[in-house]
Amino acid sequence: MIFSNKKKVAIDKSLYDRLKAVSEVGGYSSVDEFIVHILEREAAQFEEAQDEEAVAKQLRGLGYIE
């Protein structure tokens, strides 16, 4: 409620229905659980890719790579 730590996201019904079908096959208890799981994984991968890019910048700054 006022102190809820959740945010709403709106998606097209057609996408929702596709996700629902996939989540049932995957063994998730709800579409929400499935969506949260894949979003967490995707976010982690993006963060990892961004972080690797940042580290490459550091190596360049130190003069070790071009």
Partner: protein, 193 residues
């Protein structure tokens, strides 16, 4: 399968600021010839010099520097090990140092150079480095042209002779471990965690 003119190339590798320059000095003092160009001059971060070869950074485009490297030692930072062609044999001395010390040392160097770093919190930097180190060691384990030996920086400072002997054995003998220890100076060990 080494032909007389294709002795293994000795590579000193690791993360930046993990003791690679020190190892290069030790090998030189021990009797191994280095392949360097002296282009990066000594400074506060490396008072005795960098012992680098600029051409290494362009290995992917032009690996011809390797023709002069047989039986000599060259510094190749961990990220660039992937660029080394597999038609040579490499003996890699891989320097390991605590990541918190490495990060502090890198930060100090970036500050002195006035260049930008990764702007990431330390734990995320460490996560990337750990993963990349794991990847590159795994890569070398699986690639036939690589043999590698890990050397811990702290152990090197604390007990240089035994580490020097270990390196000498790994490289097939022929170096003088006692002379190698002469360059190890505990004063150089800053950023101690």
């Amino acid at each position: 399968m080494d032909s007389p003119c294709r002795s293994p190339i000795v590579i000193v590798s690791g993360l930046p600021r993990s003791g690679t320059s020190l190892m290069m000095q030790m090998l030189e003092r021990g009797g191994l010839s280095l392949l360097t160009d002296g282009l990066r001059a000594a400074d506060e971060d490396n008072p005795r010099g960098y012992f680098e070869l600029e051409a290494v950074k362009k290995t992917r485009e032009d690996a011809s520097w390797l023709n002069a490297a047989s039986g000599r030692s060259v510094k190749v930072i961990y990220k660039l090990l992937y660029d080394l062609p597999d038609d040579h044999k490499y003996r890699v001395i891989f320097m390991r140092r605590g990541l918190d010390e490495v990060l502090s040392s890198q930060a100090a160097m970036l500050k002195r150079r006035g260049t930008d770093g990764a702007a990431l919190p330390p734990d995320r930097m460490m996560r990337v480095f750990e993963k990349q180190l794991g990847d590159v060691l795994g890569y070398m384990s699986e690639t036939a042209c690589f043999e590698y030996l890990e050397v811990d920086y702290k152990q090197l400072i604390d007990d240089a002779l035994s580490q020097a002997k270990m390196v000498n054995t790994f490289l097939g003998g022929g170096l003088d471990p006692q002379k190698m220890t002469e360059v190890v100076d505990a004063d150089l060990y800053r950023q101690r965690a």
